[in-house]
């Protein structure tokens, strides 16, 4: 583990031709325009205000001062397609509306553009990353097991768990950013090793 977490000495080994991962790590902490061209996600989709109807759930019956509703759920219905999106993630209606609107926009984009949409690309990127992480983790533990058969079982279990958690991401940009950074810390020093092996 110790060698894995000391990336600096290894940095010099990365050949200038394949610095994609390193760049990706850097851009997560700064801004999107720095991304490498082929890794760039399409812009976040948006939809016009008048293309959907908005409903605050629990809307009927007495309201106002007589009852203190804690439901902050917001439901959007897309007029053209009839797609319904509901959000009750937070206590804030404003926040829930933002969330529902984003999900609706993503759904529509997915229908319209298919694999070229932002969501699809994001998903693809995540699964690509997961695959390579799994591959690396297998390789790493095979190596570790060769050196020290006692460590293997427990360590591997933990690593798998970590990966599971990380691959659950998407939706939220910050969440995505955070989990990717965590992942990179493990991956970065491994990369040069991979190349050496290859």
């Amino acid at each position: 583990m110790r060698t894995l977490l000391s990336p600096l000495p290894n940095l010099g080994n990365i050949s200038p031709g394949v610095p994609g991962r390193l760049r990706l790590l850097r851009t997560l902490s700064t801004s999107i325009p720095n991304l490498k061209k082929n890794d760039q996600l399409p812009p976040r989709p948006n939809i016009p205000d008048d293309s959907f109807t908005k409903r605050f759930l629990k809307g009927s019956g007495p309201g106002g001062q007589k009852i203190n509703k804690t439901s902050s759920a917001v439901q959007l219905t897309h007029l053209q397609t009839g797609i319904v999106v509901k959000s009750q993630a937070t206590r804030s209606r404003t926040q829930n509306e933002h969330i529902a609107r984003r999900i609706l926009a993503e759904k529509l984009e997915l229908i319209e553009k298919g694999t070229e949409s932002r969501v699809a690309k994001k998903q693809e990127r995540a699964s690509r990353k997961k695959r390579s992480a799994e591959k690396k983790s297998r390789r790493k533990y095979r190596k570790l097991a060769d050196e020290n058969p006692g460590v293997r079982a427990g360590e591997e279990g933990r690593q798998d768990e970590d990966l599971e958690e990380e691959s659950e991401e998407d939706k939220d940009e910050e969440e995505l950013g955070a989990s990717e950074v965590v992942k990179m810390r493990i991956q970065l020093p491994l990369k040069p090793t991979d190349q050496v092996e290859r």
């Binding site: 605050f56 809307g59 019956g61 001062q65 007589k66 404003t94």
Partner: protein, 374 residues
């Protein structure tokens, strides 16, 4: 209240041991789970700010359990957690002051949109905006209007160089809390820094003011602002009748038990003859709006019957363009003709707001924009 089905209770218990208790007040699993999650987040929060250590189970679980217990007794979650999100704002809530309702958030947002538009389209030169919020309580309407008309982020800078918002309340608890809310939201950067000068909260007995002669009303409202017209009077006054407030009435137990009656039921000293007790504040507000030549008066109401009573009251008083807004922001016009919906009153969504337009220029603009919207 119908009994909770035992199946539901055991289903809840399997998910989390706190859920059956929460079901007592929440009544359905979905909202019980939501509330539990919010309480959990509130309990975890201080921990998050500190160092990331191992999560000490003891005191946290204790805090959560006590939250759940209070909630099961019907205490509003806003008093337990201390806040309620309102637009982009975070409004502090304390016993003694009415909790902001989501319906209020909806029409206040719409109101800000209207004010912004009418100022731009009906009178291109106007840089002033003067708003009075009666019965302001936590200050939520006044503060949300400010956050929407003069947003804190510089790129979407508002058009109003001079925005004046005065919030009035009879309760000292409310005045303290509204001042706190201004500073709280300034710290959160949810309000523009000018809010300190633009918004003030003052003590006022609305019913008493409405009894005063016209001159007194004018000097009270225009005291520092004589040069300006009063653009908007907005109010969410007490509007529940004693019958509706009684046990078995339409007011829920949690509201009766924990929220201030002062903010809910108008006093029984009926100052306006021939006006229902529930409608006393509307009579006062209409008189004040007419005397001060306000351009627009917007009030929250409890139900459709009350909305129609307020409409008739206003019509008897003054030439005005009167609208009734429902919870989903659809507008029903003076003549009962629905404007931007297919249905009139017969559908299940209650009337929530009566908007009374007095300024001829604004009325002209409003009628045109409603037609355009159709």
């Amino acid at each position: 209240m119908p009994r909770l089905p035992p199946v539901l209770i055991s289903q809840a218990a399997r998910l989390d041991r706190h859920l059956p208790l929460l079901l007592r007040e929440c009544r359905d699993l979905n909202s019980a789970r939501n509330e539990l999650r919010w309480m959990q987040e509130a309990v975890d929060e201080p921990q998050r700010e500190g160092s990331i250590g191992t999560r000490s189970a003891g005191p946290h679980d204790h805090a959560l359990a006590s939250f759940v217990k209070r909630r099961a007794r019907g205490e509003p979650i806003q008093y337990i957690l201390g806040t309620q999100p309102f637009g982009e704002l975070d409004i502090k809530c304390r016993p003694g002051v009415l909790i902001p309702r989501p319906e209020t958030e909806v029409y206040t947002t719409e109101l800000a949109r209207i004010i912004q538009k009418v100022q731009v389209e009906a009178e291109a030169t106007s840089k002033h905006c003067y708003i009075v919020d009666f019965c302001t309580g936590t200050g939520c309407i006044a503060l949300l209007l400010h956050s929407l008309l003069k947003p804190p982020t510089p790129q979407q800078h508002g058009k109003f160089r001079q925005l004046r918002i005065r919030g009035f309340d009879i309760s000292q608890h409310a005045l303290r809390l509204s001042a706190e809310n201004t500073h709280h939201n300034l710290e959160l950067r949810a309000l523009h820094k000018d809010a300190v000068q633009d918004i003030c909260f003052e003590h006022l007995d609305l019913l008493a003011l409405a009894q005063q002669p016209k001159e007194k009303i004018i000097t009270t409202l225009y005291h520092k602002y004589e040069a300006q017209p009063l653009d908007l009077i907005v109010s969410n006054p007490p509007y529940i009748s004693p019958q509706q407030y009684k046990p078995g009435g339409s007011t829920t137990k949690s509201v009766r038990k924990f929220e201030p009656k002062l903010a809910l039921v108008p006093p029984d000293s009926l100052l306006f003859d021939g006006v229902d007790q529930a409608d006393q504040f509307y009579a006062a507000l209409i008189r004040i709006a007419v005397a001060s030549r306000a351009r627009l008066l917007v009030v929250e109401v409890g139900d459709t019957e009350q909305a129609l009573r307020v409409r008739d009251m206003c019509r008897a008083h003054q030439e005005a363009w009167i609208e009734i807004w429902k919870d989903d922001n659809t507008v029903v016009s003076d003549t009962g003709v629905p404007f931007d919906s297919r249905q009139g009153f017969e559908d299940r969504i209650d009337a929530r707001v009566v908007a009374m337009w007095f300024d001829p220029e604004w009325i002209k603009w409003r009628k045109q924009s409603l037609v355009r919207r159709n």
